[in-house]
C-alpha cells in the first residue's frame, strides 16, 4: 500500500518537473553510477553539474538556463537504451551527453538517429560509436575523445619511436571491448614500426584480480615494455603484482584508462610508467576546473579524464547551441558537426564531418614520478 503511494508521488514529481520544461534547455546525461563503472560515475556527474552551474551563472545559453537530466544506465547497454528513450520522449532533451561506455553508445546510436537528437560520447573510444559497421557516419553521434585505433597507434608509436623499444608484452582484458580494441590497434602499429610482440596474454576483467600467472610468463620472456590497454584497477593491479614478482626493468605503457587513484594501489611501482592521455593535471588551462571541483565537492577528482571530458562536452554543446542560435536538435547537430578550432579547457576541438571524431587531437603523454602524474610530452604520430 505504502509502496503505491510512493509510486504516485514519483509520478507527480515527474509530471511537475515536466511542467517547467519551457524555461530551460534540457540536456540529458547518461552516467554509469551503479554497476561496473560505478567508480567513474560520481566524478562525471559532479563535473557535468559543475559545468552547468558555471554556464548558467554566466547567463546560460541563448538566455536560457541549462538543465541536466541525469540517468544511470548501470553500465549496461540494455539499460542505456531505455534511459535514452526516456530522455528523448519523456524529458524532451535537446541533446544527450555520455555515456563513457562504447557498448552503451553503440546500442543507443540507432535510437538517437531515428529521433534526431544529437548524442556526444565522453569516453567511448570504439570507432563504431560514430561510424556504423558499413563505414557510414552515424549522423547524430559524436564524441569528444580520440578513438581506439588512434590511441592504439599512439601507444605503438610512442613505444617504438619515443622509447625505442623493440619487444613488447601485452596483458589485456578479454571481456572488455575497450581493451580488445586497443590491443588490436597497438599490435598493428607496433609491428609496423618494426617491433615484435613477445607475449600476449588475456584475463577476465571483473572477477580476475590476480595476474601473477600471466606476469610470471611475461617475466620469462625478454619483453622490454608491458602494454596495459585496460581500465582502472586492471591497470594498477598488474603493475603492483609485477613489482612483487620482482619485475623491475620493464616499462609500463597504457592508454586513457589511467586514473590517479592507481597510485594509492600500486604505489612506487607506478613510477616511470607512461600513459597516453587526454590532458595533464598540471595543464594551466585546467587549474580553474580542478579548483572549483575541489571547492564544490571537497575531492581531488582522481578520475579526472572522465570528469574533464564530461565537463568539456557540456561546454562544447553550449557553444554549438549558441552557434546554432536555436535549441533545436537538428540545428545543434549541424553546429556540432561544423565545430572548428573550438578552444575547450583540455584541448582545441575540430570535428571530422566524415567520422564525427575529433580531428588531429593531440594526445598528452603522462609519466608518473614519485607517485604523481606529470606531463611528459604532447605527441601526434606521423
Amino acid at each position: 500500500m505504502r509502496k503505491s503511494v510512493l509510486f504516485l508521488a514519483m509520478l507527480c514529481l515527474c509530471v511537475v518537473s515536466g511542467a517547467w520544461a519551457e524555461e530551460t534547455i534540457k540536456v540529458g546525461y547518461l552516467a554509469g553510477i551503479t554497476g561496473d563503472f560505478a567508480a567513474y560515475g560520481q566524478p562525471e556527474v559532479n563535473a557535468v553539474k559543475l559545468a552547468a552551474e558555471e554556464i548558467n551563472a554566466k547567463g546560460g545559453v541563448l538566455g536560457k538556463k541549462l538543465e541536466i537530466v541525469i540517468y544511470d544506465y548501470k553500465s549496461r547497454p540494455e539499460d542505456a537504451v531505455n534511459a535514452v528513450r526516456r530522455l528523448i520522449d519523456h524529458d524532451k532533451v535537446v541533446a544527450i551527453l555520455g555515456s563513457a561506455s562504447s557498448g552503451a553508445n553503440i546500442a543507443t546510436a540507432p535510437l538517437v538517429n531515428r529521433a534526431g537528437i544529437p548524442q556526444i560520447g565522453t569516453l567511448s573510444t570504439n570507432p563504431l560509436v560514430t561510424v556504423d559497421e558499413k563505414g557510414k557516419v552515424r549522423p547524430f553521434m559524436f564524441r569528444i575523445c580520440f578513438i581506439d585505433p588512434y590511441q592504439g597507434r599512439l601507444i605503438g608509436y610512442f613505444a617504438a619511436k619515443e622509447l625505442k623499444k623493440k619487444k613488447a608484452a601485452i596483458l589485456y582484458d578479454v571481456g572488455s571491448d575497450y581493451s580488445q580494441g586497443l590491443r588490436e590497434y597497438f599490435t598493428k602499429s607496433f609491428t609496423e614500426y618494426g617491433g615484435t610482440i613477445v607475449a600476449d596474454y588475456g584475463f577476465r576483467g571483473g572477477q580476475d584480480m590476480d595476474f601473477r600467472a600471466q606476469l610470471t610468463q611475461i617475466k620469462a620472456t625478454d619483453a622490454e615494455i608491458l602494454v596495459l590497454p585496460n581500465i582502472g584497477k586492471d591497470l594498477a593491479l598488474p603493475i603492483k603484482q609485477a613489482s612483487e614478482l620482482g619485475m623491475k626493468d620493464i616499462i609500463y605503457v597504457g592508454g586513457d584508462g589511467y586514473g590517479e587513484f592507481m597510485v594509492e594501489i600500486a604505489g612506487k611501482a607506478l613510477d616511470g610508467s607512461y600513459w597516453m592521455y587526454h590532458l595533464a593535471r598540471q595543464d594551466p588551462a585546467m587549474k580553474p576546473f580542478f579548483d572549483s571541483y575541489k571547492a564544490k565537492y571537497n575531492d581531488d577528482c582522481q578520475e579526472f579524464a572522465i570528469a574533464v571530458l564530461a565537463y568539456d562536452s557540456l561546454y562544447w554543446l553550449a557553444d554549438s547551441i549558441t552557434r546554432a542560435g536555436t535549441a533545436e536538435p537538428k540545428a545543434i547537430r549541424d553546429a556540432l558537426e561544423a565545430t572548428k578550432e573550438l578552444k575547450l579547457h583540455h584541448a582545441t576541438l575540430t570535428m571530422d564531418p566524415k567520422t564525427h571524431n575529433p580531428l588531429d587531437k593531440d594526445a598528452v603523454v603522462l609519466t608518473v614520478q614519485d607517485g604523481k602524474s606529470v606531463f611528459f610530452k604532447k605527441i601526434r604520430p606521423q
Binding site: 509510486f7 514519483m10 509520478l11 514529481l13 515527474c14 518537473s17 552516467a31 553510477i33 551503479t34 554497476g35 560515475g41 541525469i70 540517468y71 544511470d72 548501470k74 549496461r76 547497454p77 540494455e78 539499460d79 537504451v81 531505455n82 534511459a83 528513450r85 526516456r86 528523448i88 520522449d89 519523456h90 557498448g103 553503440i106 546500442a107 540507432p110 535510437l111 531515428r114 529521433a115 570504439n126 563504431l128 556504423d132 559497421e133 558499413k134 582484458d173 578479454v174 571481456g175 572488455s176 571491448d177 581493451s179 580488445q180 580494441g181 577476465r204
Partner: protein, 283 residues
C-alpha cells in the same frame, strides 16, 4: 504512443517471454536454474549471425535462435538434470558462465567481447507483442496439458510421480528444453531490439534476475510470473530519476518480498483464482 512507452512495452514482452520459460522450469517442474541468461545469449547470437552474415529473414532466424538454445539445453540437460535441488542450480550457474565465456572467446564467429553490432532492428512493437501473445497461448496450453500436469507432479513429489508412471527424467528435460526455447526467442528479440549485443549482457546477474522474477511472482503461477515481470520492470523504470538508489531498491524489494511473502505475489495460483479467493476473503 511515445518511443519510451513503446520501448518499455517491448522490453516487458521480451522479459515476459524469458520469464515464462524460466517459470515453466522453476515454478512447474521445480528445477532451479541460475544460468538461463546463457540461452538468451545463444538465441541472440544465432539470430544475429543468421540475419547479418547470411541475410536470413528475421522470422525464421528467431525461431532458429530458439531451436539452437533448445539443442544446447538438451545436451546440457541429459547429464546435469540428474542433479537434484541446489546442485543443479549451481551446475547451471557454471554452465551459463561457461557458455558466455565461449561466446566471448570465439572471436571469429561472435566478434568477442566487443559485441555484435549492426543487427536489423526487427523487434518492433507488433513483433514483440505478437511473439509474446503466441508464446503465452502456447504456454497456457502446455501447462494445462497432460505434460504440464506431469511437470507439476514431478515438482510436488518426484518419487511419487515416477511411481505413477511418469518418465520423470524425460519430463524434466522437456521442461528445460522448452524453457531454453523461450529464453532463446527472448534473446533473439532482445538482439533485434538493441541492434547490438555483447556477451556481458547475459551474465549471472541477468540469470538471477530471471529466476528472481519467477520466485517473486509466485512459483507455479504463470500469471504471477507475468505480474512479477511487470512489477520489476516498472520499478526499475519508475525509479530512474533517483538513479543511484535504483539498484538498492531492487535488492531491497527482493529481500522484502521473500521475508513478507516467500511464496511470491500470487503464491501458486493463477490470477483469476487468486482474485476469487481474495474477494471471498474480503466479503
Amino acid at each position: 504512443m511515445s518511443g519510451y512507452t513503446e520501448g518499455i512495452i517491448i522490453l516487458l514482452c521480451i522479459n515476459a517471454i524469458a520469464g515464462m520459460g524460466v517459470s515453466l522450469l522453476t515454478g512447474f517442474a521445480g528445477v532451479f536454474s541460475l544460468g538461463h541468461a546463457a540461452y538468451m545469449a545463444l538465441g541472440a547470437y544465432t539470430t544475429a549471425i543468421l540475419t547479418v552474415q547470411y541475410s536470413m529473414h528475421w522470422l525464421p532466424a528467431i525461431v532458429a535462435g530458439g531451436i539452437v538454445a533448445m539443442i544446447v539445453a538438451y545436451f546440457i540437460g541429459v547429464p546435469t538434470l540428474r542433479l537434484m535441488g541446489d546442485y543443479f542450480a549451481i551446475a547451471s550457474l557454471g554452465l551459463g558462465e561457461a557458455i558466455r565465456l565461449i561466446l566471448e572467446n570465439w572471436q571469429s564467429v561472435t566478434r568477442g567481447a566487443r559485441g555484435y553490432p549492426g543487427i536489423d532492428p526487427y523487434t518492433t512493437l507488433p513483433v514483440a507483442v505478437g511473439a509474446f501473445l503466441i508464446l503465452l497461448i502456447l504456454m497456457f496450453n502446455f501447462i494445462n496439458s497432460r505434460y504440464g500436469r506431469a511437470c507439476k507432479a514431478c515438482r510436488d513429489d518426484y518419487i511419487a510421480a515416477s511411481l505413477l508412471g511418469f518418465n520423470t527424467a524425460n519430463i524434466r528435460i522437456l521442461a528445460l528444453v522448452l524453457s531454453a526455447f523461450y529464453c532463446g526467442v527472448a534473446g533473439a528479440l532482445l538482439g533485434g531490439f538493441l541492434s547490438f549485443i555483447q556477451p556481458v549482457m547475459f551474465d549471472m546477474m541477468k540469470s538471477t534476475e530471471l529466476t528472481a522474477v519467477v520466485v517473486f511472482g509466485g512459483l507455479g503461477s504463470m500469471s504471477g510470473t507475468l505480474l512479477g515481470t511487470l512489477v520489476i520492470t516498472l520499478v526499475t523504470e519508475l525509479f530512474r530519476p533517483i538513479s543511484q538508489y535504483r539498484m538498492l531498491i531492487y535488492g531491497a524489494v527482493l529481500v522484502i518480498i521473500m521475508v513478507i511473502r516467500p511464496e511470491g505475489i500470487l503464491g501458486n495460483r493463477e490470477l483469476p483464482s487468486f482474485f476469487r479467493r481474495f474477494l471471498r476473503r474480503d466479503s
